[in-house]
Amino acid sequence: MSLLAVTDLSIDYAQLGGATRAVTSASFSMGTGSSIGLVGESGSGKTTLALSLLGLLPANGRVASGEIHYADESVSQYSETQWRRLRWTKAALVFQGGMNALNPVRRIVDQIVEPMLVHGTETTKQAATQRAIELLARVGIPASRARDFPHEYSGGMRQRAGIAMALACKPQLLIADEPATAIDVVVQAQIIRLLAELRESLGLALLIITHDLGVVAQLCDDVIVMYASEIVESASVRGIFHNPKHPYTKQLLESVPRFSGMRGVGAGISGQPPSLTNPPTGCRFHPRCPSVFSPCATEHPPASRLADKHVVACHLYGHD
Amino acid sequence: MTTVVLSQPPGPVTGEQTPAVERGTLARLARRRMVQIGVGGLGLFVVLAIAGQLLTVNGIATGSTAASIFNPPSLQHFMGTDELGRDVLTELSAGALVSLIVGIAATAIAVVVGTLVGLLAGFFRGWLEVVLMRFTDAMLTVPSLPLIIVLAAVVGQGLGQIVLVIGLTSWAGMARLIRSEVLSLRERAFVLRARSVGVPPLRIMRVHLLPQILPLVIANTVLISAAAILAEATLSFLGLGDITRPSWGLMLNNAFKSGAAGRGAFWYVLPPGLCIAILVLSLSFIGHAINEELSPRRQRQ
């Protein structure tokens, strides 16, 4: 039984000139304790996908089609009350950089206590406070700083507090949106190690949304690559890094400088990321693709399964 | 120190916005209903003011006999007569002229002074900035209406003096706004880049700063003119305006003093106030719409 299953999910944003599809037919599932990296550039739809998993789409966004299941229970007909019960207990969210995810006028400890009391996972204020302080200690923040306000924390501490807050109601799934962006390298390394350690000790499932391939390589078992609102490739982390299939994935990997390669920078990807309001026809990557051939501009590539976990949506594959 | 721009219409005017007005802004503005209504209202009073100059046929003074005063609207006097038997409609159109003149002239003074002070204080830091801003802060702190009253009592009550008094008490909010905008602009990367390329200061102000603050200046100009018109009306109502010219405020002052309200002369009490309200509202609508158009939130969408 999977913890979370997304099937054929599409999400639209209503805009002045009609609707923009931010996520197109996304499907994936996560088991208990698994860790998936959702990789994509800005505007590829990855944050929208994350928000939709908790029913948090902005007012102009809506699920156009598809299903989200938590432990085999469909959420598509959920009322706001049902969503509210699901949030933070089944899955919790860690925001980018942690900077703005904390209410500036409320004390850290109170913000961690709040969901426990609302969801009734702790019944008394004392017990909840006790647990909040334990959680803070768990992420490396001493009890003496629990009653601080967010601005008194450093960037790294805020991100840690955000993680402690996400653990408040013992969710099985942690959705982390760019958990290591906008903080310094050393702090980023600390946060990555903290997440890895929490996953190990608590059996947490992680959905890491990032554009940083390094974070994915170090933290995830499986990788989903998104391009222009579509999933173009998904595979195990080794499958992606050692045997990438989609030309976009290949070039993306090539453009990341690393120590364990040779010096120099890859060619990168020519052209610019497409706009979602007016996406290219056929394969959305074809205007930038070095391997483009006849069907790419007109036909949308179907997803083909190459190996157990390795699925790619590209005309180069699956046409025997 | 927290500063909110005082003595100006409430609105989302902030110094921190980055008015990247692009092509099509005017077209987008023109499509806003508030702008359409605002421009319409403004046009109405321009026409009224001009018409008043052409059609002073009915004359102002018609000898105050008991029969000719406080006449309700009739075919002869569309809007009735006042306590001296004058035609209310004629007075109204003459008042429109005064309001527009004061609005434009006082605003011009305030905008020039405010922009200059703001630009100088923001661009040339140091003692000049300290002196200018201390003075601006003091201006902002002192409540405007009592200040205007006191000044008017001192410098006199001709139209010119009124314009001067209102203009010289309305620039401080503008100065503060422009300064904070210039302060943030001069740290912006494109100004830094211009400096790094070697662009001289005057060219930076002309090419890189002025076009950026222009939309902010325009939005505030409209709002200041609304406030100036209100100030003139209030001053005239209090009997501190130019009593030789029939303005809307003066009409209301006369109505108030002659007990028009008590005599039920609604045709005399209502129109001048409505005129002020509609003219000010027209300007507020336009200013509000420009501000909306400039606000960063809109830019993001």
Binding site: L54, R84, R85, R87, W88, T89, A92, L93, F95, A101, L102, P104, V105, R106, E114, P115, V118, H119, F149, G162, C169 | M1, T2, V4, L6, S7, P10, R134, F135, A138, T141, V142, P143, S144, L145, P146, L147, V150, A153, V154, G156, L230, T234, F237, L238, G239, L240, L252, F256, G262, G264, V269, G273, I276, A277, V280, L281, S284, H288, R297
Partner: protein, 324 residues
């Protein structure tokens, strides 16, 4: 900046502003049209001895610097002179007027802020919808209506169509009260129309600021976090969004006292409320300069004090400024 140094720097700024205003006042009232002594004697039946003593108490026979020192000395010792018109001590007149003004504005201001903020929340959480644009448009319209005219219209309505509520003064003329309670009721009745006028005229600023502030806050990550935590939308609004959105409005309530006093001045004139506004109005028309000068200074000092109070109180609300 530490709290202590922040406070002392704010007090320093306040003193500087006071200094500028006082100096401006001194200079302004010596620019009066006509010779000062001429004005003094013109002001009424003053015998030469009285003129001489007035001259001396204003220090008109001394150098400008000495005059200025004397001016400040008189100010701080409440030696504010006598009215040209009523010959009463200015201090007494201004003090009584100030008390009456405070009676008028206290209730009106509290109502204005509460209703304004409530309307702002109402519009802000419905941003972009019809209820929002109606609220914003109405607010702008209310702001555009001249206060004195609104008062006139109310006077008109209540003296022609709905006779009953008093439309003028603070108490019924020549009334005698059997109990102090009756007097309070009488004043209360006289308060109703001025209060309504004040509230309607002033509400827009709070509504619009609160609305804009709330719209901004509702877009912040921490509000999304609060929703993600499974809180009810009511709790998200009142516990997370509104407290943050209130901060700029709080500041506004103090900084806008000057604007509110300007509005009050008009209301007092229209409804003949014997407060500072009426006093200023009368002394301008009667060219009663000592009274005018002190009344104006009093209003300025009240506003400057409110500004200072804001800067001292604000940190208590916003923890970001309170510490470090």
């Amino acid at each position: 900046m530490t709290t202590a140094s922040r406070i002392s720097s704010r007090i320093g700024q306040t003193v500087l502003t006071l200094f500028i205003v006082v100096t401006f006042n001194f200079w302004l009232f010596r620019l009066l049209p006509g010779n000062f002594t001429q004005l003094l004697s013109r002001a009424g039946a003053l015998d030469p001895a009285a003129v001489a003593s007035l001259k001396q108490s204003f220090g008109l026979d001394k150098s400008p610097v000495e005059q200025y020192v004397l001016y400040i000395k008189n100010l701080v010792t409440f030696n504010w002179g006598t009215s040209y018109v009523s010959h009463q001590p200015v201090f007494q007149m201004v003090f009584q007027a100030l008390v009456n003004t405070i009676v008028l504005i206290t209730v009106a201001y509290i109502l204005t802020v509460i209703i304004g903020v409530a309307l702002g929340v109402f519009a802000g959480r419905r941003a972009g919808r019809l209820a929002d644009s109606v609220t914003v448009t109405t607010s702008l319209a209310l702001w555009s209506v001249p206060t004195f005219w609104l008062g006139l219209v109310l006077v008109f309505i209540f003296s022609v169509w709905f006779v009953g509520l008093p439309v003028s003064g603070m108490t019924t003329y020549a009334a005698t009260y059997s109990t102090p309670f009756d007097q309070v009721v009488d004043i209360g009745l006289h308060l109703i129309l001025p209060t309504i006028t004040l509230v309607i005229s002033s509400i827009a600023q709070y509504t619009l600021i609160m609305r804009n502030s709330l719209v901004t806050v509702l877009d912040e990550d921490y509000v999304t976090t609060a929703r993600a935590k499974g809180l009810s939308s009511r709790r998200v609004l009142w516990r997370h969004a509104v407290p943050n959105a209130l901060l700029p409005t709080f500041t506004l309530t103090w900084l806008n006292i000057g604007i509110f006093l300007s509005t009050t001045l008009q209301v007092e004139v229209v409804f003949s409320w014997p407060g500072l506004g009426s006093l200023i109005f009368q002394s301008v028309n009667q060219r009663d300069y000592p009274v005018l000068e002190v009344s104006f200074l009093t209003i300025a000092v009240v506003v400057i004090a409110a500004n200072l109070l804001n800067d001292l109180l604000y940190p208590l609300l916003d923890p970001r400024i309170a510490r470090r």
